[in-house]
Subunit: 132 residues, 2 copies
Amino acid sequence: MKEHPLHRNTKQRQVILEELQKLTSHPTAVGLYRIVVRRLPKISLGTVYRNLDLLTKTGVIQKLEFGSEEARFDGNLTPHHHIRCVKCGRVDDVHRPPLDLLGGVKDDFNGYHVLGHRVEFFGLCPKCKTSL
Amino acid sequence: MKEHPLHRNTKQRQVILEELQKLTSHPTAVGLYRIVVRRLPKISLGTVYRNLDLLTKTGVIQKLEFGSEEARFDGNLTPHHHIRCVKCGRVDDVHRPPLDLLGGVKDDFNGYHVLGHRVEFFGLCPKCKTSL
DNA sequence: CTCATTGCAAATGATTTGCAAGAAA
DNA sequence: TTTCTTGCAAATCATTTGCAATGAG
């Protein structure tokens, strides 16, 4: 757990982070809420959203966004790519070394100051590819 | 313009496609609506959304989605990457040969049947990188 | 004629926010 | 205490949808 002087260490925050880090699936805010509410029956969905947002901004977790789908969260900060099932929305880690596409061209690219890039794969997950 | 037996060639559809293909900026639905409404004062935003959706599904244009930002549309179907300004949201084409990251591994990747991948760059556009 | 399409307005749905009560430090 | 957080509910906001009227083929 991180200790930021301005952020208080609440039970809700602890449990949210703890449960997220326990998972390898990449839950949506609602999905994580459903898990956390088992330990903290009074917690609200708004609190989950607020904490996921704060944890993302402080760099403790990462937010995964795929087009217009619901955002998903990942407690693993190690650089890695993701693959998303176009049928059920499931997201998995890709077990391959992440690619560095910026070979050399770090600073000026199309007149832009390049800050980074993202690679995402999509396809049919093990379950969905059979049940067609 | 495509002619699908089930799709009618309306003035609205024509103008929407025509104006989109004229642009190299990648407008949002509202942005394109503002342009189209100059030629068709009675058109509704809903019609723009419906046509952009239909044109995307029939493969005439492509929809670009960046995280939770508004979707943007591109009349250019040639495979290419995009770079997005994290400050103003502007999106530009990347003038470099698109990458094929799936070298060999086409069919089974993490147990998934891989359908494709997306690469997106982000940074500060020419205007925003100076005005900091 | 038929039925895809439109304009309009209301509905969605994920995410955000205002506010008063509650709890870290 | 101080002020960050929470729970709750209402508000956002891009996008979607229902419906009766319109128009393409």
